[in-house]
Symmetry: C2
Subunit: 199 residues, 2 copies
């Protein structure tokens, strides 16, 4: 988060901010990214469009910020003492029902990213890169503990592996990802690829 962004957002209360993000996510669920307009957000939240643009800059920024707001705490705060424990904790922060809702939103957004390069860029900068940096700290601790070799080539592909688990389950098997599925995927794929202990 830049200082400018912090300063901009500090003009509204956290409660009002949460209310706004909730309305954005409701609209996203109802009409999808492409049909979502700043006019509709303004009407739904009794804000002026000028305020929305001043606070967030534009639609991609507002939507990505709202998605980020659904995240249950920072990945980097997870520290169970083992990589397996950390990765299991990572996919257990949400119950299956919340995970299904958020994963439906995330799939919708991934679809929209396909045809909206500006959304793709904001998504990458504001959501993927911060998550990857935090993920990097979880992995670095595993390397420091000697669970993963520092030169393990799979370290570059942890996000690819995880996305594969989430997306393939949803798209090809027509089932939302569940904690049970994701923990077995971590034990069967992610930890063995990293050469880390699986129990």
């Amino acid at each position: 988060m830049t200082d400018v962004a912090t300063a901009r957002r500090s003009r509204i209360t956290p409660e009002r901010e949460a209310e706004l993000y909730g309305a954005v996510l409701d609209l996203l669920r109802e009409v999808g990214y492409d049909a979502l307009t700043m006019d509709a957000v303004a009407a739904r939240t009794r804000s002026s469009k000028a305020t929305l643009y001043r606070q967030w800059g534009g639609k991609p920024e507002l939507v990505v910020r709202a998605m980020r707001h659904t995240k249950p705490g920072a990945v980097g705060e997870i520290d169970t003492g083992s990589l397996r424990g950390d990765l299991h904790a990572l996919v257990s922060r949400e119950d299956d029902c919340v995970m299904e809702q958020n994963s439906a939103l995330m799939r919708g957004l991934a679809m929209a990213m396909h045809t909206n390069p500006d959304l793709r860029q904001v998504f990458r900068e504001q959501l993927i890169e911060p998550e990857m940096a935090e993920f990097g700290r979880v992995l670095q601790r595993a390397v420091d503990r000697g669970e993963v070799r520092p030169d393990c080539p799979a370290l570059d592909f942890v996000v690819h592996m995880m996305v594969g688990g989430f997306a393939t389950r949803a798209l090809i098997e027509d089932q939302p990802p569940t904690r049970a599925f994701l923990t077995s995927y971590i034990d069967a794929v992610v930890l063995p690829a990293l050469g880390a202990p699986t129990h």
Copy 2:
């Protein structure tokens, strides 16, 4: 392929069939799945709509059949003598340019699958399941050669791993998958997860 489908399709020549599929893929690139109509396919290929419906059954079937037609030969025919060789051969059947084109088509279709359950079902039945069955034969040979343990839990997730490589590269890194990327992904992720030799 059912006998009925074979009988239906046998009424047109392979050349005419290839021409039809080419036109469907052109339209898919031009307007996307949702805006593609059987009327447009009929006009572009100088066919009657009745013929198209009789031969293929509907839009999802016609589109999936056209996608399947772009596949460069069956996965099951690959047999290099090692799993690493087979998987590398698998991602080297197309050059990077063709792979980029087909992966753009496939991403577009994956987007459309999100909101078209009928397309999702046909895609799964006509493309994913046959590919997975052929993939299963490649993996079975690796098990028979002793390269992969028959109870290796990653055997259930090979498609998830591969989709993760393809999709994450395209969506998050904003780069199409290349042979160089996919072969390093196979060596870093897929083979180690399967406990198979990586060189």
